[in-house]
């Protein structure tokens, strides 16, 4: 068991990035990679759903969710879509490169809430990355939950991430996996339709289900609607939000959404905590 440092060790400067070395790069789609990195110093424990501020020296930093298994903090993964300066630079790194990471930050997925209940996970596109650690953690403690169901949607088959994991989980009786894509050319062979279409069909007990959702905001809205329609209690429905971040410490206010700071109070929220805030366009 490697030695780990508790995330809130008081002596560590929370704004200083620690060096990590890129060990493996996995191309997920044409614009998404997963970087596996190893710490140059002692690894830091994290919980499923937390994020890091990932720093490319000379370019800048971006908030990126941790997409690896919390049981192995000595090998940390981040899954990144190239959309701006930092994420493009991260997509262009080569094995052996050194990056800076500070974190982990934020409130993760409430797996304890799902104890003794059905655990349903709904992911859209790259949204599978932030829930992947929760899936791994749940499978490692399988006896704590009743059913575990994973509903995955992507824009097209080529936009599906973590296909190796999906294949592995699909053949694992401990988890019930359903994959769909928004559209596909004939021959794909799987389901076609938005991920919310799966919600009325997948076997789980809506009264006794805890649901974790991650994807584009519009997808989370529709997912929440479909889940509530099925009878899921919104108090047991959780979403993860993205807002522009700077300090990630709850001090600068960049990530503010009404009264909440996404970096400090989230990024995972119970649906009733944020649904009205998200309706207010100016927030």
């Amino acid at each position: 068991m490697p030695m780990t440092i508790a995330p809130d060790l008081p002596l560590r400067d929370p704004l200083t990035a620690r060096p990590y070395v890129v060990s493996t790069i996995r191309q997920q789609t044409h614009d998404i990679v997963t970087l596996d990195v190893r710490p140059a110093e002692a690894p830091i424990a994290f919980t499923a759903g937390q994020f890091d501020m990932v720093y490319v020296y000379g370019v800048g930093e971006a908030a990126i969710s941790i997409s690896s298994d919390p049981a192995t903090p000595e090998l940390l993964s981040h899954t990144i879509r190239a959309i701006g300066w930092v994420t493009r630079a991260l997509n262009e790194l080569q094995p052996g490169a050194t990056i800076g990471i500070r974190g982990p930050y934020g409130r993760g997925w409430p797996l304890d809430d799902a104890e003794g209940r059905d655990l349903v996970i709904v992911a859209g596109g790259i949204g599978l990355a932030p829930v992947r650690p929760a899936i791994m953690a749940a499978l490692a403690q399988r006896e704590r939950f009743n059913r575990i169901a994973l509903l995955v949607g992507a824009r097209s088959p080529r936009d599906l991430v973590f296909r190796d994991d999906l294949d592995r989980w699909e053949s694992n009786p401990a988890i019930d996996v359903h994959v769909t894509v928004d559209s596909a050319v004939r021959g794909w062979g799987g389901r076609v339709g938005v991920v919310t279409k799966l919600i009325p069909r997948v076997p789980f007990d809506p009264d006794g289900a805890t649901v974790l959702t991650c994807g584009p905001e519009a997808m989370m809205w529709h997912t929440a609607d479909a889940l509530v329609k099925r009878g899921v209690d919104p108090d047991h429905l959780y979403v993860t939000l993205e807002r522009n971040m700077r300090c990630a410490l709850g001090t600068c206010g960049h990530c503010q959404l009404g009264p909440v700071f996404v970096c400090r109070d989230g990024p995972v929220f119970a649906w009733p905590e944020v649904s009205e805030l998200l309706e207010e366009r100016e927030l």
């Binding site: 076609v192 919310t196 519009a218």
Partner: protein
């Protein structure tokens, strides 16, 4: 798909009717189909008139874009892809599976299908006679409203899904 009495929507080689026994076999299937959950036995019997259990072979079309909407299909087994044909391989917009209802063009003029329905696997479905259903909707406002409401839900669902497809795609393009 083909029914025993009506002219088939497609050449008969693309689909074949099962020997259905009688209307009771259709009613029994209708009673189990989620689309008609909660409809009384008596109303199911009225809906089933002229209906049949039909089959479509894999890699055949149940109906083609522009073809007449003569039947309302309720899927029992198998997978059907709603496709648009283009220059290359057809694009699948939605896949439908056991428990799904296939299309609503039979209800609204000009009663022509908007997409191709391609059977990805062997498919079994209940085919209800569209002309009979439309007459029933006109003649019985209570059953007519209930049926129309259920079809409207299908349409609303499809619209919601299409919007979600658009905004997800837009979010993706915007970020990409």
């Amino acid at each position: 798909m083909n029914r025993p009495t009506d002219p088939p929507a497609l050449p008969a080689r693309n689909a074949r009717a099962l020997p259905t026994g009688d209307v009771h076999a259709v009613v029994a299937r209708l009673a189990e189909h989620p689309f008609l959950a909660g409809i009384s036995r008596e109303d199911l019997e009225r809906l089933a008139e002229g209906g049949a259990v039909v089959e479509c072979d894999a890699d055949r079309y149940a109906f083609r874009q522009g073809g007449p909407g003569e039947s309302f299909y309720l899927l029992l087994d198998g997978d059907v892809d709603l496709e648009v044909a283009g220059a290359g391989t057809p694009l699948v917009l939605e896949s439908l599976h056991a428990g799904d209802a296939l299309g609503w063009s039979w209800l609204f003029p000009p009663h022509r299908w908007a997409f191709d329905a391609h059977c990805r696997t062997p498919v079994r479905a209940i085919a209800l006679d569209a002309r009979h259903l439309r007459a029933l909707i006109d003649a019985d406002p209570v059953l007519g409203l209930e049926l129309t409401r259920r079809v409207a839900e299908l349409v609303a669902d499809r619209l919601r899904h299409a919007r979600l497809q658009i905004v997800s795609g837009h979010a993706h393009d915007h970020r990409a």
